[in-house]
């Protein structure tokens, strides 16, 4: 039966080529726009560490003064002061924990006549690599003793290794960072989680190339590396000794394996804040422990423009679907007589309905194929945009298949009304009119 409907539908579509082309073209434009923007949206709101994200948490506390505080409505501060970060770190209440500060490092190449350049730098602590599953190509990270001793050790990204050492194993070699010698302990494989969850609110980028230099927090501070973002909650006169200043500039991440440890860490965090309040260090006792994806949502990491584009594309698709409904309706009303004949010869209402739905589905699939072409063109355009994420915009298999789902669903929704109109048509008047 399906083959017969298919044949009928194709004949009907062929009969009025202009109308069919218009329908397919309009639907394809809507689908192309939707898939293009959805691909970007999915890319930007994706999970940077799918295998690990459910176990990674971002604790927040609030040393801000009482001014402007509304109990239960004020979110805790996005970053921490250095003493708080160290307290949480040294308590070792989680499986792993790391403090993170972003900065820029002046790297001096070893070759003569070469110019120094700046590289994105992460000042962190030993657990960083294991906690975030950062893969090593050569060597490994430093250990907790190096953190405390401010060892002049560094882990570099593979692209920096390629640039400085031609991609050879550089473990044990020395590079000059901010005019100090650092020994390389490890070289990472290419690693750039998208979005860069750990750089939120620390003055880093959210998308694009990975960071180049990773070094112990104390070692970085010892050579006067400044944080990318500082938020102070009281007047500060001495910005050189940030460790003691009333300023927030450190992000802390913890890894918590199961529900019990999450609950106990939450309790620990709440107790910590209460204790600081009782010591009069804090005025607010609000805390928060968001998981990785929750933190990204909280930070609204997806740019406004991208969300706006996706919304626009959906509006556009809606208009295209309404358009297709109108055109399909026109086609099916034109064939009232044919329907009357089929009904008179014994076709049931459901058979007529099925026939018209098959026709709508064919339009949808054709629209999907053409829409895919438009989506590829759209993504090509996105890749030429001046945005951090531009080079990442590619259609993957899931979105490829999703295109056809969207096309089919859109066309079937568009087909329901015309098909229903066709199947409720009384056969007798149609035959009489002939």
């Amino acid at each position: 039966m399906f083959a017969y409907y298919l044949d009928l539908a194709l004949r009907s579509l062929k009969r009025n080529k202009v109308l069919t082309t218009l329908m397919i073209l309009a639907l394809a434009l809507g689908i192309g726009a939707t898939i293009t923007t959805l691909t970007v949206l999915r890319l930007l709101s994706g999970d940077p560490l799918p295998q690990k994200s459910a176990q990674l948490f971002y604790p927040q506390i609030d040393p801000n003064p009482k001014d402007g505080y509304v109990a239960g409505e004020t979110k805790p501060a996005p970053t921490m002061t250095y003493p708080d970060a160290m307290n949480l770190l040294h308590a070792r209440r989680a499986t792993r924990q790391a403090a993170i500060v972003l900065s820029q490092a002046k790297v001096m190449p070893l070759q003569a006549n070469s110019h120094p350049f700046f590289s994105d730098t992460v000042m962190t602590t030993a657990d960083f690599f294991a906690m975030f599953d950062a893969p090593f190509q050569f060597g490994g990270g430093w250990n907790a003793n190096d953190d405390e001793g401010a060892a002049q050790e560094v882990v570099i990204a593979s692209f920096l290794n390629d640039k400085l050492f031609g991609g050879t194993n550089s473990v044990g070699k020395v590079i000059r960072i901010n005019d100090h010698d650092f020994r390389i302990t490890g070289v990472l494989k290419p690693w750039a989680p998208q979005p860069r969850f750990y750089s939120q609110d620390l003055g880093g980028r959210s998308y694009g190339d990975g960071d180049a230099v990773f070094l112990p927090l104390k070692s970085g501070r010892a050579i006067k590396m400044g944080p990318g973002d500082i938020e102070c909650y009281a007047a500060v006169s001495d910005m050189d000794h940030l460790e003691a200043a009333p300023c927030m500039w450190v992000g802390v991440w913890v890894e918590l394996g199961d529900a019990a440890s999450i609950a106990s860490f939450k309790e620990y965090l709440a107790n910590y804040a209460k204790q600081q309040v009782s010591l009069s260090r804090f005025q607010r006792s609000e805390t928060s422990l968001l998981d990785l994806m929750g933190w990204l949502r909280d930070q609204q990491v997806v740019p406004d423009d991208v969300r706006l584009q996706a919304g626009l594309a959906f509006g556009f698709l809606l208009i295209c679907v309404v358009n297709t409904v109108g055109l399909l309706l026109a086609k099916c009303l034109r064939r009232s007589r044919e329907i009357g004949v089929r009904r008179a010869l014994g076709a049931t209402r459901s058979a007529i309905f099925a026939q018209f739905m098959v026709e709508a589905a064919i339009v949808g699939m054709a629209g999907g194929v053409l829409g895919l072409v438009f989506a590829e063109l759209g993504l090509l355009g996105i890749r030429h945009q001046p945005a951090e994420y531009a080079s990442l915009a590619h259609l993957d298999l899931a979105m490829f298949l999703f295109t056809f789902v969207v096309a089919l669903v859109a066309s079937l929704i568009a087909g329901i009304l015309p098909a229903w109109r066709a199947c409720v048509l009384a056969p007798a008047p149609q035959l009489k009119a002939a």
Partner: protein, 404 residues
């Protein structure tokens, strides 16, 4: 031509009429809001920086030893002055459309209770005021003895110039000259008002704050170094900048040239608004595609109606209707449907605007967008229906006498 028969004919095709009207309504809603978004972006892009953009370029250095910054300033300024074509070299902390360096909140009392807003402090050395080409509208330009040494990022007690917009915001309706404001313990007194001076990185606090800047004269030193303002004739500026970058390698080999920031102001502006330009382009693309699809829908349905009514058209022609009558019939029919859609669309446009306002920093849709949208859609409808209507008008009266 009467409207009555058209309406009664439409009543027999309620569903199809409703669909076209719905499509027009959706198109109207998206069209009005997309145009409004474009106008907003374009408005942002045309902000007046207040400086002679075409004559200015900047060199930004990083990575040098802070202890040597006074020496660096001396080496770089004398090195850059030696470049032929350079009219002036001065030290400045930030330039319009570059990286911001002096953004801070100010208060109108020394106790810090009465908050004035977040402003950009342009801290700049001698020659810079003239080089920027700032236009004084009240008071006076800073005198040479007002350029004082810095202990922090701004002088502790300085005579400054504010922009017209900032003056009106801080002291509405009052003469701003002689007024004082504070930033933490730093004290400022207004000696002049300039027409415009845009914040370096635009308007974090909304479009109304984009001109909230303070020009603060200061002596170059450890707290003011690394960024240099070059002024040259526009025709030579690009060469001067290229020579300046090359000169840094010899006069300051210890510093790293920040390539992204060391540009002409025109280039910095162009990069600053690149994303807005792309977005505006995309919105225009959406509008064009939208109008195209809507027009296609109208053409399709109108053609269908014409084909369906061939016989009736023939009969009308046979009993005396002229070609013009038939043409007008379809035009009026389209006008009525589109009008119905526009009425619905205006409500939708407003609702969509309210939704966008909750999600983005957007003002309310000005009412004049609605009639403009209506005019565009009426025009589009008439254009789309013209083809099918002409075909209808060409139906000969003899059709009436034929069966089928």
């Amino acid at each position: 031509m009467q409207i009555q028969p058209v309406l009664s004919a439409l009543r027999r095709h309620r569903l199809a009429t409703l669909l076209i009207a719905l499509e027009i309504a959706l198109a109207c809603a998206v069209l009005c809001n997309a145009c409004f978004l474009i106008a907003n972006r374009v408005g942002l892009m045309h902000v007046d920086s207040g400086v002679d953009e075409r004559s200015l370029a900047t060199i930004s250095l990083t990575g040098y030893d802070d202890a040597k910054s006074t020496d660096l300033n001396a080496r770089v300024t004398s090195g850059l002055r030696a470049i032929p074509g350079v009219q002036s070299v001065s030290v400045i902390n930030q330039v319009p459309f570059g990286e911001h360096a002096g953004t801070a909140g100010i208060t109108l009392d020394s106790a810090g209770k009465q908050f004035g807003g977040v402003v950009d402090f342009y801290v700049a050395g001698p020659e810079s005021f003239k080089a920027l080409g700032l236009q004084v509208v009240e008071g006076r330009a800073p005198s040479s003895d007002e350029y004082q040494p810095l202990q922090q990022f701004v002088p502790s007690n300085a005579n400054v110039l504010v922009t017209r917009t900032l003056a009106d915001h801080l002291w509405p309706g009052v003469d701003a000259l002689g007024k004082e404001f504070w930033c933490d313990k730093f004290h400022f007194r207004v000696v002049g008002v300039v027409a415009n001076l845009a914040k370096a990185e635009g308007s974090e606090g909304g479009p109304s704050t984009i001109q909230w800047s303070v020009f603060t004269p200061a002596q170059p030193g450890p707290n003011l170094s690394g960024r240099y303002l070059l002024r040259a004739d526009p025709s030579q500026l690009w060469r001067v900048l290229r020579d300046a970058r090359a000169a840094i390698a010899t006069v300051a080999p210890d510093a790293v040239v920040d390539q992204l920031q060391s540009q002409t102001i025109t280039d910095l502006r162009e990069r600053h608004f690149r994303q807005d330009r792309v977005m505006a382009g995309m919105l225009i693309g959406v509008i064009v595609a939208l109008l195209l699809v809507t027009a296609l829908g109208i053409v399709g349905l109108a053609s269908f109606w014409v084909a369906q009514r061939r016989r009736q058209i023939g009969i009308r022609r046979a009993i005396g209707a002229t070609r013009g009558d038939i043409l007008h019939y379809f035009q009026i029919e389209n006008f009525l449907i589109v009008t119905f859609g526009i009425v619905l669309g205006m409500v939708l446009a407003y609702a969509l605007n309210l939704l966008l306002m909750t999600q983005y920093e957007l003002p309310r849709l000005p009412l004049y967008y609605l009639p403009i949208g209506a005019l565009i859609l009426w025009g589009l409808g008439q254009l789309a229906v013209l083809g099918p209507a002409m075909r209808a008008a060409a139906v000969p009266p003899v059709v009436a006498t034929r069966s089928v």
